[in-house]
Amino acid sequence: MSILQLNNISKNFGAIVALDKVTLNLEQGEVLGLMGDNGAGKSTLIKIIAGNFKQSEGEILFENNNVEFNKPMDARNKGIEVVYQDLALCDNLTAASNIYLTRELKKKFGPFSIIDFKRMFESAKNIFAELKSETLPNETVKMMSGGQRQAVALARTKLSKAKVVLLDEPTAAISVRQVAEVLELIRQLKAQGISVVIISHRMPDVFAVSDRIAVLRRGKLVANKFAKESSAEEVTALITGALETA
């Protein structure tokens, strides 16, 4: 079943055509690698899916229903979460506090309602276990590696029961060892039936986890094929324009 279907999505900024009739679908539990050079329209497409922009033309179907996203909250309420490159985490808070920020678990303490840290730590621990990450819930984020930060950000999306997770450059600017950790996180999301879109420049990472690769060039979708039927060479050629379509 297609969880997300984009039909003929176009986006103009004045005279500039950022996206030109892009048709793309995302299956449940599928990992889609979205590739393209700078300015190819990847970010614009993600922002339309996330509700930051509204498309100029075309329609979005979510779980086979026509949807309109006027603001990010609309998309989030449907179960679409974006994890941006500069992970929106608070360094001075613990992993658990970050995950539960604005939806803290509470308990009664006399007449007051106070934050239930114990339950938050327990639950965060379980989410990390599901993600097979060894991130500690009660550790402050500023102490954490890039991979662990990624785990915290993804744990947030798990908590909101996201159905589609959009990852913007999840493996940029982190060490090789942490890349493996992040790729494992993505596989765990997939194993739990969550659909993932990753935007990345790093060819090996995309091929390592993606079921399907979509390539944008100058706002047009020039390829949309199964990862195992493609290759890094072909995708590079598609991105640069050496190959017109595939």
């Binding site: 360094d91 920020l101 934050i115 500023k142």
Partner: protein, 327 residues
């Protein structure tokens, strides 16, 4: 992946607070053995009293600094609140409770306006409160011609300016306020949101925290407690006095920063501020007992506080190298 079973690390705040506690004990011992009349019941209670006035504003100020703002108008704000309180009673014949309510409302409104100017007009709080620092002192002086406005109620003076169960009433009030702020900072959603705003305003906004609202709340609280202290000062000296609270903003901010709160926000705890307040009060009092010239006293305090901040910022820098967000 490396430290899967390690215990949570001792946070820097803990180390800092332990260090500060040791410093407080040392200062207490040094002055007790070297300054005549320092270690007497009367003097220790006097230290506690002056620490309490500072503490009442220092706790909300801790939140202000954590949320990456500052309020330097404390001294004049205390003075003007006191003058307003005394004038309402003496010149307009308003009752004590009603005058209290009006002055507290004044404090709330003033803080709210500073918050609005910060969040809607994007004027840094340093500038707004610097302007207030001058304007409020000027208002207090002008309104009273620089003369104390005497007010009479003995009951009011004896209770709020005096002692209760062997300790200054203001110390009891300070303790209650400390517990409230400690509780807010540790166990409440509001406290978590204040830390989040200081840690990464962009992230806080993206998860739906009302960043502007949080800043307005912290600034309003500080202004409110400046008004509270203004009234309590009137109770102490039985008059509204345009010159009280001179340099109080220095004591308050110094206590907060000595207590481990970072001027750049995000880091800070109420327990640290409480220790910082006691530290500053002991130094101020002890230097007087050493017989140091009052003018030099200020110099020595400046140096001590400078050193404390150097130690503090080096501690926090080492552990706080994460990226900073917008603002």
């Amino acid at each position: 992946m490396t430290n899967s079973n390690s215990k949570p690390k001792t946070s820097v705040s803990n180390i800092h607070e332990l260090g500060l506690l040791v410093a407080c004990v040392l200062v207490l011992l040094i002055f007790s053995f070297t300054a005549p009349n320092f270690f007497t019941e009367r003097n220790l209670l006097s230290i506690l009293r002056s620490a309490s006035y500072v503490g009442l504003v220092a706790f909300p100020m801790t939140f202000v600094l954590i949320s990456r703002e500052i309020d330097i108008s404390v001294g004049p704000s205390v003075a003007y609140s006191g003058v307003l309180f005394a004038c309402l009673i003496k010149w307009y014949g308003i009752s004590y409770p009603l005058a209290t309510i009006i002055v507290l409302l004044w404090g709330l409104v003033l803080g709210y306006v500073v918050g609005i100017v910060r969040t809607k007009l994007f004027v840094p709080t340093f500038i707004t409160t610097l302007a207030l620092w001058s304007a409020l002192r000027g208002m207090a002086l002008w309104q009273t011609d620089g003369m104390p406005v005497m007010i009479g109620s003995k009951a009011f003076r004896h209770f709020f300016g005096g002692d209760f169960l062997g300790f200054p009433t203001v110390t009891w009030i300070m303790l209650v306020v400390f517990i409230i702020f400690w509780f807010l900072s540790t166990y409440s959603v509001l406290g978590t949101n204040i830390y989040a705003v200081g840690g990464n305003p962009k992230a806080a906004r993206s998860v739906g925290i009302n960043v502007d609202g949080i800043k307005i709340i912290t600034l309003t609280a500080t202004s409110f407690f400046s008004a509270v202290v203004g009234i309590l000062f009137v109770a102490r000296v039985s008059s509204g006095n345009s010159t009280v609270g001179e340099g109080m903003e220095f004591d308050v901010i110094a206590a907060v920063v000595v207590g481990g709160t970072a001027l750049g926000g995000a880091v800070g705890r109420m327990t640290g501020t409480l220790l910082g307040v006691l530290f500053i009060a002991m130094i101020g009092n002890g230097l007087v007992h050493w017989g140091i010239d009052p003018d030099l006293n200020k110099v020595v305090r400046g140096i001590i506080i400078f050193l404390a901040v150097v130690i503090n910022s080096n501690l926090t820098l080492k552990s706080n190298t994460g990226p900073k967000g917008e603002d």
